[in-house]
Amino acid sequence: MSDIEPIIGRYVNITVDGRVYRIFYEEAGAGIPLFCLHTAGADSRQFRHMLNDPDLTARYRVVAFDLPWHGRSTPPQQWWEDKYLLTADHYMAITKAVWESIGLQRPIVAGCSMGGAIVLRAAFDHQDEIRGILGLETTAAGHGRYNDFLHHPAVHGGELCATYTYGLNAPSSPEAGKRENWWYYAQSGPGVYRGDIHFYCNDWDAWEELGRIDTTKCKVALLSGEYDYSATPQMTEDVHKAIPGSYFKLMHGMGHFPMIENYPDFRPYLMDALAHIGD
């Protein structure tokens, strides 16, 4: 008897700033587009439990993609001549180009960590084009994660980045989920996590822009894990307080990677947040 999952993976070619990017995305379900953005140094596999949840895919077309340089998406042409340092402008441009290229109409844009950051920009720059945002472990500005050891010739970057992020999980989360996420991080390319963290810690500051978000046009739901020490609950709650009409819930016994570290406990929070965003 076969045990084939309903997830289907495909590739799409997009052009951003004159360069072509071959992007991998995977999807399951039908209905409201739920467009998912992975964390720094990881890829769309983090969303496999959502993609395999029949209650979710009965109502939503769940789509997750790999950023360029990540997972199964390739870097752009002549990538070897570039130092990979992600910026907010480029991150938003890539994200929007992907959802448009695969034909998602007014998606809910969901992201975790750095993905949970850039969804705020989707909300203040593209609020007429999307239904809402779901921010997991969201910050308006992150600091303190960048360091030279993340891409260093004397350090195994995969093992360090995976171990560096392991403690962002909650201690009580199932070990299998935490280890799976460790493995994804260990597979990241050289310097990619460091390049993502450049966006998260050096380039990203949205505090001045949050006032432009109109939650009557674009719903905002924010979830934060109790044990997240990168985007702490206080940091996410501060964003919530700066966006009138937004929704915020603290997830007890959860860390920075709710969708992969402990999906059973994350699921009720996810469903409530999506109910807030509505149709």
Partner: protein, 132 residues
């Protein structure tokens, strides 16, 4: 609450580390001496190929540690709590968020051995949990 930790559990920690299946897999290159300062108490751990070879209590100044962790007892008590509170549940969390928790010495060696070191400190936490 005493000013010093009871450290009888260090022997249990050594046994846990030296019989740990993961450290047997990943510890081949983890050979160094690192120290942990539990408030005023300094302990040196000599590690060879991922195994704890010697735990030196109150080491003399000629015991050379390449790197070490140092923090007040108030911080360590949270780390070793049966259910550690957020920000105190992992040494990387404390490095980032708890100013009194300090990685001393050659951080490059610590990061070169991050995976085995992290596993070792997790086993230390398990052995000390509820015992300090």
């Amino acid at each position: 609450m005493s000013e010093n930790f009871e450290l009888d559990w260090l022997d249990e920690f050594r046994d846990k580390a030296n019989s740990d299946r993961e450290l047997a897999v990943i510890g081949e290159w983890f050979s160094t001496t690192f120290s942990v300062n539990f408030g005023p108490q300094r302990i040196a751990f000599k590690v060879a190929n991922g195994r704890i070879e010697e735990i030196i209590r109150d080491p003399r100044f000629d015991v050379r540690a390449i790197f070490g962790f140092s923090a007040p007892l108030t911080v360590w008590r949270k780390f070793f709590a049966p259910t550690p509170p957020p920000l105190y549940h992992d040494f990387f969390a404390m490095i980032m968020r708890i100013p009194e928790f300090v990685l001393e010495g050659d951080g490059l060696v610590a990061m070169q051995n991050a995976r085995a070191l992290h596993r070792t400190m997790s086993l230390m936490r398990d052995a000390g949990a509820g015992n300090v």
